[in-house]
């Protein structure tokens, strides 16, 4: 484990079968998650749709929030939020459930993480397609701003990856981290502009935009996917910095704690 970072990254993907292995594991995990039951891939859709229905009734019909295209608006927020929670809550115990992969062979632990997050990406892409179709039907037509979504996606990926690394490594030391994280996620859902208008949210609780890295990501995603606007570059840059910092902390924890995973579990 004395790899220096630069030669670590260059040598990493060059090992001939690593990329195809990660992709294969991601596909297997995706299948495991959705094809276990008769409804199959429909589950990937039923989850957000049922939530959208519920929130629509509560927030648009009952509380009469004045948001145009509220269903699409909700969908955009939920899509990214669910990806984030799936990547983080879903991987807290990854070093335990995937122990067989690194203990018996020399598979690098990072591969296991990347494969797991990639499997969530497959679900995200699927939902995103449904979203774009839905947006089109609602009269929101594609624009070149879609291109900027790449940056927002990278931002979200890095953030989810980092948080996943931190949580799963802390799990080795604190077995109740899952309960703690569930509370954080519960708060996070209401402290992110998922259900309500992002602009109102930012006006009143500006500091939360900076504290909560998801909030900027959701606002920017709506800018480019719904409002045909540019992302808030300052916010995007800040969030990418934020996510990178979290990823670096996660990688440091991985290097420090995870070699002892076998004995701690």
């Amino acid at each position: 484990m004395s790899n220096l970072l630069p030669n670590f990254f260059t040598s990493w993907f060059y090992e001939s079968n690593r990329a195809e292995r990660i992709w294969m594991m991601a596909k297997i995990e995706f299948k495991l998650r959705y094809y276990e039951n008769k409804l199959g891939l429909m589950w990937a859709l039923i989850k957000p749709v049922s939530q959208i229905l519920m929130y629509y009734v509560v927030f648009q019909v009952l509380m009469n929030q004045q948001v145009e295209n509220y269903v699409i608006y909700l969908f955009a927020g939920l899509l990214l939020w669910m990806f984030f929670t799936e990547c983080t809550s879903g991987t807290v115990k990854i070093l335990q459930t995937k122990k067989y992969l690194y203990e018996y062979t020399n598979m690098h632990k990072l591969e296991i993480y990347i494969a797991s997050i990639l499997s969530s990406v497959i679900g995200l892409v699927f939902n995103l397609m449904i979203f774009l179709i839905g947006a089109w039907v609602s009269g929101i037509y594609p624009s070149f701003h879609y291109v900027f979504f790449i940056f927002i996606f990278i931002n979200l990926f890095v953030l989810s990856f980092g948080v996943s690394l931190i949580l799963s490594n802390l799990f080795l030391l604190f077995k109740d981290i899952m309960q703690i994280w569930n509370i954080v996620v519960g708060f996070g859902f209401f402290l992110s502009p998922i259900l309500y208008r992002g602009d109102l949210f930012s006006e009143k609780l500006r500091f939360l935009d900076y504290l909560n890295p998801i909030s900027g990501i959701i606002n920017n995603a709506r800018n480019v996917l719904m409002f045909q606007a540019n992302p808030d570059w300052q916010m995007l840059l800040f969030d990418i910095g934020y996510a990178s910092l979290i990823l670096i902390i996660g990688l440091m924890l991985l290097k420090r704690i995870s070699p002892r995973a076998s004995e701690l579990l």
Partner: protein, 245 residues
């Protein structure tokens, strides 16, 4: 040319045993001051040895003498205590009764994942696939989940993957304990053949006949320390003498 497959220098492993288990955030918060319950236990102490490439090396000793810990240290599952150093050249695979397989995946998926982890490309696994399944005698259960398998079936599958996919270094921790007589014979046949390929094998076994038959050199562990390192026959002789008393 004698390349080293494994070099161990001053390797020790200490486990800390807490009579009161402290591994949640809450407990750490409240119990951090009172660490009086912690006991340390040296499972393996100060071991230095070198294993040549292509060598068959035996590890013997009584229960609790540190055999499995030593093998886990060699394979990289455990990290040695400060000051110890382990160098491993090549890919390795650990085969033991725990078996490195996901119980949620099917036999087919496990073959692909394990094969790939051992360095094979997917195309190569496709070519080997039938051979592996046939060797494991699992033709009828290819797409069943491993969790429904008997322990013998799982053992056969992982053995079949290991011998066909082939890591450079194989750690065999009591692998002969499972499997019926017929499979055992087949496994031994393959192992005898695969030795010619210059694969390094580290074998842990209570079966002294196996050790003396296959290994030239062996280490005899006694309470985590090296009691003897060298000729396998000599190691077995010492082990038998110790146990006679």
């Amino acid at each position: 040319m004698s390349e080293k497959a494994l070099i161990l220098k001053n390797v020790s492993k200490t486990f800390y045993i807490n009579d009161k288990k402290v591994d949640t955030f809450k407990e750490r918060l409240f119990n951090s001051m009172s660490n009086r319950n912690s006991r340390s236990f040296k499972a393996v102490e100060n071991i230095s040895l070198e294993i040549e490439r292509g060598e068959n090396f035996g590890v013997i000793g009584r229960n609790g003498s540190g055999k499995s810990t030593l093998v886990k240290l060699m394979s990289g599952a455990f990290v040695p205590d400060m000051g110890g150093e382990i160098q491993k050249n090549g890919t390795s695979m650990l085969l033991n009764l725990g078996v490195g397989m996901s119980h949620e995946l099917t036999a087919r998926q496990n073959v692909y994942v394990s094969g790939s982890a051992l360095g094979l490309k997917i195309k190569e696994i496709e070519q080997l696939f039938d051979k592996i399944i046939e060797f494991a005698e699992l033709e009828d259960f290819v797409d069943s989940k491993v969790k429904y398998f008997s322990s013998g079936m799982i053992q056969r599958l992982s053995f079949a993957i290991a011998t066909n996919a082939g890591a450079d270094i194989m750690f065999l921790d009591e692998v002969f304990a499972v499997g019926d007589a017929k499979f055992k014979k087949k496994a031994i046949d393959v192992m005898e053949k695969s030795w010619i390929d210059g694969r390094t094998i580290i074998m842990v076994s209570h079966s002294l006949t196996n050790i003396s038959k296959y290994c030239k050199r062996a280490v005899y562990l006694k309470k985590g320390k090296v009691a003897y390192l060298g000729d396998a026959k000599e190691a077995i002789k010492l082990y038998n003498e110790d146990n006679a008393n």
